[in-house]
Subunit: 447 residues, 3 copies
């Protein structure tokens, strides 16, 4: 009898310890909290990186306007993503018989204006997600630089953060139809970068090129003018800040501070970014006969965008190849969009984020090894994963391109999208914000 009591005591003790290990807020929870908090903070500083890259690669007369757009797209984006975007992306569409939330296939429809006081997991996840939403939005700023009305940009940014980004994001990260199909996008080559890249391309298309960008000569031939950036050290600082923040972007996308996958992510991210810069440097050096600074900087970013989807599922060697190809692609894409399509994207945002976002998403289907299963084509995984990746690229691309095109066209009709030619000539700092960015410096604004 008493012996049974001992057995019972031991069992209770064991159960007790198990419960202790799953207490309300365990050390594992704390690790996840700290990890996602710090990861999100790192992603936040990418806003500064975008601001510095974009202002550095454009002209001094528009510098205030660009950094104001970068600040305000985060600010408006955060409020609308809290009020509306989160609900579309991570809300549910009902409750099943067992009382569990049902994830919609195409959209979430709950948790708008979420104002509750005590839900650490919601708070934590919202903070981690809002910085990704803001990244998608701010990509567009550079492509529309130097000619967009400030107020129209603010209208656009509310819509992408509230509607466009969250809905396609729901398909992949919110438990929607692409997630069901096994589409893999670890940290957002498609979810974040392609969506931002499509909106960037559509924005630049609807706006039209900057004055003097494409000039038809007497012989009918169009000459393409380059407007060099006004502050390369600042742009380079931006590249370093983006790369730094990308460690949070990719690393913390493990979503768990106790995941050993963090380690691989940091290696693949570092190698791909390095390879991207090297490839762009060498390729532009051969092609243009000079080690071009802006191409090289975009090469580093190209490597980072490309490795964002596959960073958790490829080897270091594959990461280098992915980065190298990304670095070549971004140079080709910049030239193609500028010289062939004649769409004026002043900083190459669509090449970096759209072209390389697509490339990185496909790379999962080429070299991927997801949780022990070799899904990559080159590892004998066949075309299945590659097909799913391509389907996701097309579906998200169609959604993002069409909705952002429509949005820009509507804004163009209702409030106007572009400043007047005279305002553009003077520069947006004086015409929109009534103050120069570099008061006291002698600047040639016709540059």
């Amino acid at each position: 009898m008493r012996k049974k009591i001992f057995v019972l005591a031991i069992l209770l003790l064991a159960v007790g310890f198990s419960l202790f290990a799953q207490e309300e807020y365990s050390l594992n929870d704390a690790m996840d909290m700290v990890w996602l908090f710090l990861g999100a903070s790192l992603v936040f500083i990418m806003q500064a990186g975008f601001a510095m890259v974009e202002t550095g690669l454009t002209r001094a007369k528009n510098a205030t306007n660009i950094v104001m757009k970068n600040l305000m797209d985060f600010c408006f984006g955060a409020i609308v993503y809290w009020a509306i975007g989160w609900g579309f992306m991570y809300g549910s569409v009902g409750i099943d018989a067992a009382g569990e939330a049902i994830a919609g296939k195409f959209i979430g429809l709950s948790d708008f204006f979420k104002g509750i006081m005590d839900d650490p997991v919601y708070y934590r996840d919202w903070f981690f997600q809002v910085v990704f939403a803001a990244t998608a939005a701010t990509i567009v700023s550079g492509a529309m630089a130097e000619r967009t009305q400030f107020k129209s940009y603010l209208i656009y940014t509310c819509f992408i953060s509230a509607v466009i980004y969250p809905i396609s994001g729901h398909w992949i990260w919110g438990g929607g139809w692409l997630a069901d199909l096994g589409f893999h996008d670890f940290a957002g080559s498609t979810v974040v970068h392609s969506v931002g890249g499509w909106a960037a391309l559509m924005g630049a298309l609807v706006l039209g090129p900057r004055q003097g960008k494409y000039v038809k000569g007497a012989d009918g031939a169009v000459s393409v003018k380059a407007f060099p950036g006004h502050n390369i050290p600042l742009a380079m600082l931006g590249v370093f800040l983006l790369w730094f923040g990308w460690y949070g972007f990719n690393g913390a996308s493990t979503l768990s501070g106790t995941s050993p996958d963090i380690a691989r992510v940091c290696v693949t991210t570092t190698l791909a970014a390095s390879a991207g810069a090297i490839a762009a440097l060498i390729f532009s050096w051969i092609w243009f006969k000079k080690p071009d600074a802006s191409m090289t900087m975009n090469g580093a970013l190209a490597g980072l965008v490309a490795i964002t989807a596959p960073c958790g599922v490829v080897s270091p060697g594959a990461a280098i190849v992915i980065g190298l190809i990304g670095g070549v692609l971004v140079v080709l894409s910049v030239e193609f969009i500028d010289k062939v399509l004649k769409i004026d994207d002043p900083v190459g945002a669509s090449s970096v984020h759209l072209t390389c976002g697509i490339w990185g998403t496909l790379a999962v289907g080429i070299w991927g090894n997801i949780e022990g299963t070799a899904v990559g084509l080159l590892h004998g995984g066949g075309f299945a994963q590659l097909g799913v990746q391509a389907l996701g690229i097309v579906a998200v691309g169609a959604w993002a391109a069409l909705t952002s095109l429509l949005l820009f066209l509507i804004i163009k009709v209702i409030t106007g999208l572009r400043v007047s030619p005279k305002e553009e000539l003077v520069g947006l700092d004086l015409s929109e914000h009534k103050a120069e960015a570099y008061t006291g410096f002698q600047i040639f604004s016709n540059m």
Copy 2:
């Protein structure tokens, strides 16, 4: 008999595991260590943020002087806060019968020049506290920009870090009389920002305005001149760095890496900062007919300062309202101090840190819910908490304003506070540091 031994064995096992859970340096301790270390590092980068904001919003001829002040107030501040300040803030005034340290009501009086080798908790806490002390000190730099003697600024900064900040800090965070009354200031709207803000206002008052700032016309009317900042992108970089660092400032003020409150803090901080920028943008747009960059940047900082006290005890919705009001207040305050009081605060430091520091401290009494108790007026908590918050604001304000006023007056008499009119005209970079900040650039120093 043997059965009793088994019972004993199980009990011993249980006790053993409990002890294991409270071992000398547990995983919980490690979490706190890592959390406070990274939080403090984030707060440290706010020094760069202040330096960039302050130099960007003032004139090119004083840029070296300002960044030198920002570097050296940290350096001198760190040494004196180690030698003296920590003891005033966190020292004890004796030992009680049980051998426990007694916290003084008004001042700490032990642990000066603490040189011991093995006290991880002291080391950790000192590192986390010194970056807060340095923040209070560096706020003043901007308000006194473009006309203060460098050596006098260094004298001031030693006193605020060694004496002024630690003593009122002791009242609230060191177990003093305001802590006893239940005054709530989570991360330092009053402890850090108001104290720095009062010193900034007193410094600007004692110094007097920059040459040409307030000019009396022939008709006796005083015209107020604005001196635009010389580098808006750099100022914006500073805002982003401050915001980034603020996640450490507010987040790590949980003081524990295993606290679930971290989550709420990051959400309220993000939303309040965003709302502050939006409110200042729209308010200045309506009032001044332009989306003003420097007002908007100050609006983001206003939201951050305002949410610093209540970030752990309010809901996301309240955080947005607190930020919106902060963003309006900062614009009103800048105009009031500049146009009505005619105190020349070149970067608006006193409006950001003092006005919004007061506002944020009061907000705890309006919307606060402290550990499950609704103390906020709007949540039915009555006026008790609001009264305590107001009392703390007045008491700390009286202390900080009077001591810093006295300090600046004494410095003025003994070493002089202000450079000569000629030195001011030439710029402090040449007159104080014998070198320009932007050698090689054509700059109009009369701007």
Copy 3:
């Protein structure tokens, strides 16, 4: 009988819990992972710090070239450190009878091009180490600024990251002969900074001075010209970013997120950096009659370099003294190298990293207390540790100086090291990269 079963059950339970505590990937492992990841990310941002300091302290016409060197030495360095450097530094030279890897005394010879998929510890450690390797490489950039061919710099950087740095690093951190002797270099005053500093000095020596730096007058006397930096706020931003990143550099060199030593490291690092800046400020103020910005900035960095070796084994008081002496030394060293040796190191890199790297390494033997044993001379530890430290300094110095001297001489012969006098006059931005850094600004390139 049954009682024995209970005893057995309890024992099994105890064993089970022990195993649980040492499971495959424990919370302790997760702490180390997160700690090293975040530490490495902080060290990464030091690349931006170096870029800003170096470009800010040199002339506007070379700004693009400098930031491009800073980006590309990381990118090439990362790839070659993965392919080759890691194997030399942390590889083994065989397997002993028990199946354990044998560490070579002078070099590692395994783990080149490591491409495996599942080794979180390797991935984690590689990431943490690559940012240190990149720091050593990038130190050289500043000393060789304004006159080096871009392609030659890229060749150099591959060799230091693949061969020079890893081999001497192996002696100390890879289990080699200096580690066996008890040489103590916590975070790399010698391993990283002296090695970079020697290469910097040799590079500047082989290159020769910039045009117009040392001009022989009619009377045969040589006048030494100073070329002031073109952007002091940017340089100061770099100092803050370096200091910020140094918290990862020193703090995470505990290599464990559960080490209580993290706390002391952050205090000694903060105090030494502060003391270094104060000493350099006051010393240069007395000597040159002005509070010199570039000397003061170098003083902060001098304190950081000096405390890097001893940060984990000295008291706060000793840290202040180490920093103060470092701050004086850096001023003396800059003057000595510039005026006496007449080696043109535009940003003082060799003084900061070599002179203070040596000083910090010696400081371990003066004030060190390693794991409870007072090894420092001033603590009664005798000359033993000091002797080992000196031996390591000499050995690593001989290796780094000779190999880098040889490398630069070979590059000079084969591809040429220096640009043409005309290219130098025009500036490397236009001559090497075919674009100005500050398009649109009026700049006097003869400055």
